[in-house]
């Protein structure tokens, strides 16, 4: 309970009206960040212990990636081969949602707990995001798949090497003519650039 009590204390601090609205001084804001981060890390330790009991993964690391919102994850940035993604659904009903995992531009196969292949694709992260000098991570793509979770579910990500395997992962686009499908196969990447983007000059000072 030590970690959870600490998180509770911090959440108590966060009820202050300045923390709610963002009208605290910058130094206080930084301190709130520090406290909240500490609290979340402690809570993640509880979550890890619980998930080791509640899943079939007693040795699982159950790492949280707190910067998934900016397409960063240290756990997957170098390799997303043989990675288990465990999802906890906080809603009181089964929910289907898309999950995005930062990965290198490679081919992956996603399977559910019963070993069934789940449709997935790799999409590029917007280049403006990549240009941010704050980002320490050089992951330029995200693996996207749809997960259906009652309470807890695990999905397995495995790197696949060949283009043939890559095609197996992809669901066949519906309502496409043979001609269109052939045309798509000629495109080396999975995504077709429809409209080219002009390079925008950026300045170091920005």
């Amino acid at each position: 309970k030590e970690d959870l009590d600490y998180l509770r204390q911090i959440m108590g601090v966060m009820q202050h009206h300045d923390a709610i609205t963002g009208t605290e001084k910058q130094a206080v804001s930084n301190d709130y960040d520090r406290l909240l981060y500490d609290g979340i890390i402690g809570g993640a330790s509880n979550a890890r212990d619980a998930l080791r009991v509640l899943t079939n993964l007693p040795e699982g690391e159950f790492e949280s990636c707190l910067q998934l919102n900016i397409s960063e994850c240290a756990f997957t940035k170098d390799s997303a081969d043989n990675v288990v993604v465990t999802l906890f659904n906080p809603l009181a009903h089964t929910s289907s949602q898309y999950v995005r995992v930062p990965v290198k531009e490679e081919s992956y196969q996603v399977t559910d707990e019963k070993g069934r292949v789940v449709a997935s694709e790799v999409v590029p992260v917007a280049w403006q995001v990549l240009a941010l000098e704050y980002r320490e991570n050089n992951t330029q793509h995200e693996l996207v798949f749809k997960a259906s979770v009652d309470k807890i579910a695990s999905y397995f990500i495995k790197k696949v090497e060949t283009r043939e395997n890559k095609e197996i992962v992809l669901p066949k686009p519906a309502k496409k003519s043979v001609k269109e499908t052939e045309k798509n196969l000629e495109v080396p990447k999975r995504f077709k650039k429809v409209h080219s983007m002009k390079k925008v000059e950026t300045h170091a000072d920005d």
């Binding site: 609205t21 963002g22 009208t23 001084k25 910058q26 993964l57 007693p58 040795e59 699982g60 690391e61 159950f62 790492e63 949280s64 990636c65 998934l68 900016i70 994850c73 756990f75 043989n82 990675v83 288990v84 993604v85 465990t86 906080p90 809603l91 929910s95 898309y98 999950v99 995992v101 707990e113 449709a119 997935s120 694709e121 999409v123 590029p124 917007a126 280049w127 995001v129 000098e133 704050y134 996207v144 798949f145 749809k146 997960a147 397995f156 495995k158 992809l170 669901p171 066949k172 995504f191 650039k193 429809v194 409209h195 080219s196 002009k198 925008v200 000059e201 950026t202 300045h203 920005d206």
Partner: protein
């Protein structure tokens, strides 16, 4: 070739190739013209507590042609748009998901000695809302708002006609006519309004130069590692019939604000045998 169509089995988006911006949305059996853009309030007196635009300066819409790239996958379609050097966006639709996602990226906002900037996104539709719009009350009930009016007193909006119509938007803002309803759901508390019929506005990011004197004692000019912030977030659009929309918005709101918690582990031989 004046337009680009991006669609899933449930949603059709039309991008105007001349402007590079969203032009039409079709979903839930409803079609509506929706011009989405970003705009800038230039302010001087604004602070952490108040939004007070310069009285002689109009809202500045981004007029330049937006360069965009479409990524057309089978699960997800994305339109990557660049509005200027420090505002960009990804419009995203997923197969089987009945909402349009706008993932915005703003900053660092340029400022100078006299001018702070507050950035909004504006969705302009043809829905005849007659000055009425709805904002949530801390994610619970929706409260009816009428432009330039208050329920209990006559407001003097002469000097600040826009900020006087701003309301907190914690989870959603919506407007409707007798047939159609358009709702924006956000991922964080923001300010929002509807200054014209059919138009919804959300303030996404602000970088200010003065303290407004109401308590904090600092200008709202957030820094991390001595650099001004770049903010990234999401706004979701749901277009639906008036009868159906509220329940769809409720479900979407829960998924947006209570998403899956994600944990990563290395797959071991043990975990593979568990499969």
């Amino acid at each position: 070739d004046s337009e680009t169509v991006v669609q899933t089995s449930q949603i059709k988006l039309v991008i105007d190739n001349n402007t590079g911006r969203l032009k039409t949305v079709e979903m839930n059996g409803v079609s509506e013209s929706v011009d989405q853009n970003f705009a800038i309030y230039e302010t001087y007196e604004s602070g952490a507590y108040v939004f007070r635009q310069k009285e002689d300066v109009d809202l500045k819409f981004l007029e330049d042609k937006v360069e965009f790239t479409v990524y057309d996958g089978s699960l997800v379609k994305e339109v990557h748009q660049q509005f200027n050097e420090w505002i960009s966006q990804v419009i995203r639709i997923y197969e089987g998901v009945n909402r349009v996602e706008f993932e915005w990226l703003i900053g660092p906002i340029p400022t100078d000695e006299d001018t702070a900037r507050e950035i909004v996104t504006i969705f302009d539709s043809g829905i005849s809302s007659k000055g009425v719009f709805y904002t949530d009350s801390n994610g619970r009930e929706l409260i009816k708002r009428v432009k330039d009016e208050r329920e209990d007193f006559n407001p003097d909006l002469g000097r600040q006609p826009i900020s006087g119509n701003y309301y907190p938007v914690v989870s959603r803002i919506a407007l409707q006519d007798s047939n159609k309803r358009i709702a924006l759901l956000n991922d964080r508390a923001q300010g929002g309004t509807s200054m014209k019929d059919g138009q919804l506005e959300l303030m996404l990011h602000r970088r200010l130069i003065r303290d407004d004197g109401y308590g904090v004692g600092e200008a709202l000019n957030e820094q991390k590692y001595d650099k001004p912030l770049i903010a990234r977030g999401k706004v979701y659009l749901i277009l639906n019939s008036v009868e159906e929309s509220t329940k769809v918005e409720r479900v979407a709101e829960k998924e947006i604000l209570l998403p899956f918690s994600v944990f990563f582990s290395k797959a071991s031989s043990q975990s593979q045998s568990a499969v």
